[in-house]
Amino acid sequence: MKAVYKKPEVLKNPCFHFCPGCHHGTVHKLVAEAIDSLNLKDSALAVIGVGCGVFLYDYLDVDSLEAPHGRGLAVATGVKRVRPERIVFTYQGDGDLASIGMAESVHAANRGENVTVIFVNNTIYGMTGGQMAPTTLLGQVTTTSPYGREFHRDGYPIRMAEMLATLEGVALSARVSVCTPKYLFDAKKIIKKAFEMQLDNMGFTFVEVLSSCPTNWNMSSMDALNRVKEEMIPFFPLGVFKERKMPDVL
């Protein structure tokens, strides 16, 4: 019999510690599928940010390096500069990449480091228990915005994919979601493309994945899925904001 869907090979252990309905699991799967399909198991090297995804190495059978919170893209720069033959990707949450790691993220993007970023935007600090993130929506109640996020005090939700797309060094900047089958298949394609572009030395490839965090949103998985569709996507539109067609030579 032929598999319609089977566990990706590189996913050595699918017993995720994630909460029920958490999209981190889905994203792990998609990354694993991309690695399988491009045969990158040996060459892939994960640089893992601190957040609920920090145990990625327990699940994916790829060489893995833990980066200090927020510094994934500085760490990845160090790796890729000395091991350009490895396919380097970071796996980072929105707190990690867009808050504390903003400088490292913008500068790695601007330098056009030839690495791939999997950016899990769930509008919250998952691992630490539901504090406000730079991506938290206006009005959203979190443990540190108990009266709802208010732009005068807390600022606006940051749209990273759009902001990074303005930088010359960026080869691909896209936002995807995994909340419906259609979006999920799109996400799969884009993630694969990001890795392909890295293989082609195109430069910095960035995929933002809108994700749910039922636990810290205080919602059932179903409600969380709906929230992605009905509240997140309208504010964080899906799409490819930049795609370089030719390698980065001037």
Partner: protein, 187 residues
């Protein structure tokens, strides 16, 4: 601190989130405070919480309390299988595992050198309050009495400290469940 002559008791409460584990622990604390005792409460936290586990330690004494995390508590109130697996080996030898037998079947317990007490707490809760949500209170009531942890009056008066304003009308039901446990005779 096994060799204390003065009053000292340490417990661990464990189960899933949503089973009222922390509420039970806290209620015991407030009761003991009403009894005029020293009390510490220590909840689990952090990464390990993913997956919905909840647990807490309670220490009650009439002297200043050292570590709020006893390495080998005397009594464990166990409300889920993972909870059993995690704390079975932590209870002090000669101590007590008080287990919700509506969730965990007796044969799951492996240890021989501790006392095992099984309470069909969900069923009892259903009986006395109409649903199984107050199994925690049933178990707590039993523990309070069985090990002379706190006075009955204190237990009842403390309920209002742990039930939030908007669930105020739940106080009588909690009281019922606690008393059901308190008065429980196991054979």
């Amino acid at each position: 601190m096994s060799s204390k002559k003065s009053f000292y008791i340490d417990l661990v409460f464990s189960g899933f989130g949503g089973q009222g584990i922390l509420i039970a622990g806290n209620l015991l604390c407030y009761s003991a405070l009403l009894d005029g005792r020293e009390v510490t409460f220590f909840p689990s936290y952090g990464v390990e919480m993913r997956g919905g586990a909840a647990n807490c330690y309670v220490v009650i004494s009439d002297r200043q309390i050292g570590s709020p995390i006893p390495s080998h508590p005397e009594i464990g109130m166990i409300m889920s299988l993972p909870a059993l697996k995690r704390f079975e080996n932590v209870i002090r030898s000669g101590g007590y595992l008080v287990i919700n037998s509506d969730i965990i079947s007796p044969e799951e317990v492996e240890r021989e050198d501790v006392n095992k007490i099984f309470i069909n707490a969900n069923s009892i809760s259903k009986d006395v309050v109409g649903n199984d949500r107050l199994a925690n209170m049933v178990m707590l009531g039993y523990i309070a009495k069985r090990f002379s942890v706190v006075k009955k009056d204190s237990l009842i008066s403390a309920i209002k400290e742990v039930v939030s304003e908007k669930h105020k009308k739940m106080i009588p039901l909690n009281e019922k469940a606690i008393l059901a446990g308190y008065n429980l005779k196991l054979t």
